[in-house]
Symmetry: C2
Subunit: 669 residues, 2 copies
């Protein structure tokens, strides 16, 4: 499509914004240097014609989509190889290329080689001995072997202890014999496992000398390196089509008496000696670290999803005109409808808050990692609890936010050319993988209930839950004045009381004679909602701290906008949980009305800068891949353009007319 002028309504928005989007873009990218790196990477990958699709993936069959995905994954892999040779590959580069930003522009339905880079190689690095790393890493880095990570099974996911795949050590040959003894033991889901990987780290229940030892990781060759035929005892394939991530080649794997040498068990943390003697890991909590690492990364991913969805919907809402507000006036930009603002602007605010919170958590995680290396595990349970509930809340909110944005675009959001369906598929998956959200909230809640008991005993609490102690002392929350500080404090007070209610309810059950676990199960809904409030209190505090801090270091114009974003985020968050606020804090009808009026005021004040804010997210048109959300705002032209790529439209009369419809029409004549 030839370059088009920017839609005048959209241009007007940009002309009248009160701040410079570029300033925010640089902050958003992580500083001037990262911003430049980002732009360079975009140039390198997005201007390569071999990485552009003429046919959108939604028109392809599942098989075509896989083949095209693998083609492009190899081209990307080739470029990564070159970056690596030049020493220009870093964690940020891998994140961008394999994740939701640049990766989505290149392979919008996911990359069948992703797990090789983000799980197979890192697992060998993290869990292999130095010798094992020397043996496997060069081949893996050079992609002479392609790996994946096979843990989840058809019958078990989040509950790891339930995994059924087993590895029995045979000291006579110094081999492990790996089996998936039942159908539900089949490995299920690993990306690239279907037809792409020739190796996998397989997680199995370890038995030596006839005794159960717990879970252990094994490197297993799945396919012949020359012919790609499955190895003996390996039953392997693609699990089928899915709601999203359609190009990832998720696979299944059955193992029948598959033998691997002793040295294929990754032994950095635990060892099996040649005679079968088992040496337990010094520290079983180390694996928590990896899970936390991934969950922290996911929080930033959810911000990314929201930034994409809100950019598309906001730009569209500046271009689309519909339904007069005042019958004597022409149809307004739909963004002038207050109900539309209420759909869009909180998603923009959440994108920003989740991003800054994700960055903050990332820093906390790095500090913690250092402490763990030194053997100090004090803050591990606290961080684990926090990362669990934030993963759940941010993924659930982002999923809902993406759908709100889609629905705000009416029917056009339903078309694949809007890109909402793909963004939704990617985003909602986060609710399930790396720990299902309800399970995550229950893990946080278990920690909170324990902490509440400590608080009752007068013990001091660690920083992220210290508010519970304050709330216990406070008894009643007074002087709610609607200030941002006051909303943050109120969130903490409400969260503490939700924990109290869950704690007391469990105590009631126990007095009725139930065991502690059964009592906790009966109070499950109270526990999850307590964990939810804990996470939201943290987000409120984090939003306040981080954005106030950022505002101090940017231009006054940008600072003013960020203050409105913060206020909108907090007031909206409060109104979304107003039932809990009213239950535990003596708010009047007038207080609630004031909050509602302020919400409307925030929407109103953000309106002039909405387009500039999403422009600041600096998302390349290829990343957005949306007829509704392109930078130039030529929505209708781009929708039209998309119909030209539709294979059905390549011929005026489809063969099915002559084959089926015409005989049917003529049958009665």
């Amino acid at each position: 499509m030839p370059a088009l002028e920017v839609n005048p309504d959209l241009q007007k928005e940009r002309n009248t914004a009160t701040f410079d989007p570029h300033e925010f873009s640089v902050y958003w990218a992580g500083g001037e240097e990262r911003y430049k790196e980002k732009k360079a990477l975009e140039k390198l990958f997005l201007e390569d014609p071999a990485l552009k699709d003429d046919l959108p993936t939604s028109y392809m069959s599942h098989k075509e989509l896989y083949e095209n995905s693998l083609r492009k994954a190899c081209l990307i892999g080739e470029k990564i190889r070159k970056l690596r040779a030049d020493g220009e590959d870093g964690v940020d580069t891998y994140n961008a290329l394999l994740g939701g930003s640049l990766g989505a522009a290149l392979l919008k339905e996911g990359n069948p080689l992703s797990l090789h880079y983000v799980m197979f190689v890192p697992t060998i690095m993290g869990q292999g001995t130095m010798d094992q790393q020397v043996e496997w890493l060069p081949k893996a880095w050079d992609c002479e072997i392609i790996g994946t990570y096979a843990q989840t099974e058809l019958g078990h996911g989040t509950f790891l202890r339930g995994l059924e795949t087993r590895a029995d050590y045979d000291a006579s040959t110094q081999e492990f014999v790996i089996n998936t003894p039942t159908r539900s033991a089949y490995k299920w889901w690993p990306g690239g496992l279907g037809h792409t990987a020739n190796h996998a780290v397989v997680v199995a229940q370890l038995y030596t000398k006839g005794e159960f030892r717990g879970l252990a990781p094994f490197i297993v060759q799945l396919r012949d390196l020359e012919t790609h035929q499955p190895m003996k005892g390996i039953d392997i394939g693609d699990i089928g089509t899915k709601l999203g991530m359609k190009g990832v080649n998720n696979g299944y794997l059955g193992l029948k008496n598959v033998r691997v040498p002793l040295n294929n068990m990754l032994m950095k943390n635990q060892q099996v000696l040649p005679d079968g003697t088992y040496v337990a890991p010094k520290n079983s909590v180390l694996t928590y670290g990896t899970m936390m690492f991934v969950r922290c990364a996911l929080i930033r991913d959810t911000a990314y999803s929201l930034s994409k969805a809100s950019t598309i919907a906001t730009r569209y809402s500046a271009v689309r005109r519909q339904s007069p507000i005042d019958p004597s006036q022409p149809e307004p930009q739909i963004m002038d409808h207050t109900t539309q603002q209420l759909k869009l602007f909180p998603q923009i605010a959440k994108a920003i808050v989740f991003k800054t919170t994700g960055d903050g958590i990332w820093s906390m995680y790095n500090v913690l990692s250092g402490e763990i290396e030194l053997g100090n595990l004090d803050r591990l349970p606290e961080m684990h609890a926090l990362s669990c509930c934030l993963k759940a809340i941010c993924s659930a909110d982002a999923t809902a936010g993406v759908e709100t944005c889609r629905l705000s675009c009416g029917g056009h959001g339903y078309m694949d050319c809007s890109n909402f369906p793909t963004i939704y598929g990617m985003t909602t998956a986060v609710c399930t993988y790396e720990g299902e959200n309800t399970v995550m909230l229950l893990q946080t809640a278990r920690y909170l209930v324990k902490v509440y008991g400590q608080a009752l005993n007068g013990e001091q609490l660690v920083p992220t839950v210290a508010y519970i102690n304050e709330a216990i002392k406070l008894q009643e929350f007074v002087n709610f004045d609607g200030s941002l500080e006051s909303i943050v404090k109120a969130f903490q007070f409400v969260a503490a009381n939700k924990v109290r209610v869950a704690y007391e309810q469990i105590e009631v059950r126990r007095k009725q004679g139930h065991g502690v676990e059964v009592s906790a199960n009966l109070s499950g809904p109270l526990l999850t909602s307590a964990a939810d409030l804990h996470g939201r209190a943290f987000l409120a505090q984090s939003a306040y701290t981080e954005l106030t801090q950022v505002a101090k270091h940017v231009s006054p114009a940008l600072a003013d906008v960020l203050k409105v974003v913060l206020e909108l985020y907090l007031v909206d968050a409060c109104l979304n949980r107003i039932g809990d606020f009213l239950r535990f804090i003596n708010l009047t009808d007038k207080d609630v009305t004031n909050l509602e009026t302020r919400l409307e005021s925030c929407l109103n004040r953000l309106r002039p800068n909405a387009v500039a804010l999403v422009d600041s997210f600096d998302l390349h048109d290829r990343v957005l891949d949306s007829a509704l959300g392109a930078y130039d705002g030529n929505v209708y032209e781009r929708i039209f353009e998309s119909t030209k790529k539709n294979p059905l439209n390549k011929e005026p009369v489809n063969a099915a007319f002559h084959k089926y419809l015409k005989p049917f029409m003529k049958a009665n004549l």
Copy 2:
């Protein structure tokens, strides 16, 4: 797949249920006779091998999917033709075959001929003169011509007055000249328009004698009946892939000086005489009737979606075992986790309440139709307001409910073989079509605010809003005792107060100098939430009335179950809006705790009958089309079975290995 024994966990659930599902199934189908008709229709259509797909649609390309859909649509049309010849076609038959029940089993991504039956033919019947009906209906009924209904445009949907397509009457040739003058005037979305229909009812702005006359419907031939080539001036095609309804062949249509004879304007309500004289319709509100008819039908569709989703998730939750509640016990059925019950059971309850409410509204609509025919339009605004907000609430709740069910199945719900992605696509579309949900709520709200003014003036109010008058008198809600009656009354009191707040806020704006429309726009969020509460108060009342009534006429065993369903529905609905309750009613913390405890109790009491309840929905395995939800509960076997249909698994090594992956792996060697 050979017939399998029922999964023992599922069988156990059936053995221990306290009521007979068949009794409820008969009620659900609408009585003994309809139940038999339903079974006969299922037999006729589902046992026809030509209507079974070997390849699931999710593996097909868009083009393959269309061709396969048209093939089956013609086979179904042939059977319909036969039923019609035998006098066995009724509204219920068309509903079943073209809608979400049997229709979904036959063409899960929708039928490209649906709009021919449900819009093209009925529009000619409803808006054509007797002469026009004689001319067009026989050909249409016999499918000698295939039609669709083209109203929505690329630039305008819900706001009909904004449509741009125009028809200018040329008295010199007694023809209309129809044009889509801009790109945004293109007709967009009509099902079957892309490559299937050869005729359409095109809605256009009518001009005669140079004067604008309003919207009118025209029959336009789109394609040659022999060659299927587009007619002169017709630009036509498929709009592209979408989130769901992928087989419907939604199309676009541009018209350039397309001339149709005078008689092609459907003239039952308004006429153009040969000289161009325009005769206005006697009653412009008649079109409201059709919209209301469709919205009432949609309420039942949302119940249908929920029944499907909850059946799949409930059966799966009886089969899947995961995460011990008590560590000393084996992993329980996941339905024993209270948090899982909270996901599933409210959806079952909503399916039942939406169905009975839909039936009730249907009866109200029929009474109203009779009144309108007699020229009595008194209840039209009331029914319009009610149908708008119920359409919005039920579609939004059903969409959320389907996703809750999907997420409750963890990763497996993400696979297409669960059928959740397709059910979601079908369900969420209802939020947008036939009146976008926010616009619907605003229409209801506009009515409510007007009514509130009448109430303040001491006027009597029509039945569905009479509670507003009571609430005004009441001032304060006292004696909330948690009884079901009390919850219903409290809902009405809260709804009335939400209307009051919106009304007062608009008054404040007006006193600030804003016009009434601008004031209403500023208060948009208050208006939509008032309409939401109005609809929910109606649903609460309807649930109470209808289910209490049904319980009187069924066996005591079934009546007991329905009472739990009702209580669960009301308590859950109340807790979901607890913020509004606490704001307007002086509830204590103890009151809320009591509601929470009752919710848990309801879940607990429903648990033994959950599987029997979803069995009662009597959904054929082909309708469910879900590896997770089949009647026999052989979840893992069916998931496995589904992978065998995957074209990628037909060969152990995909061609892309040799073409792309192997060269990439070897490049560095």
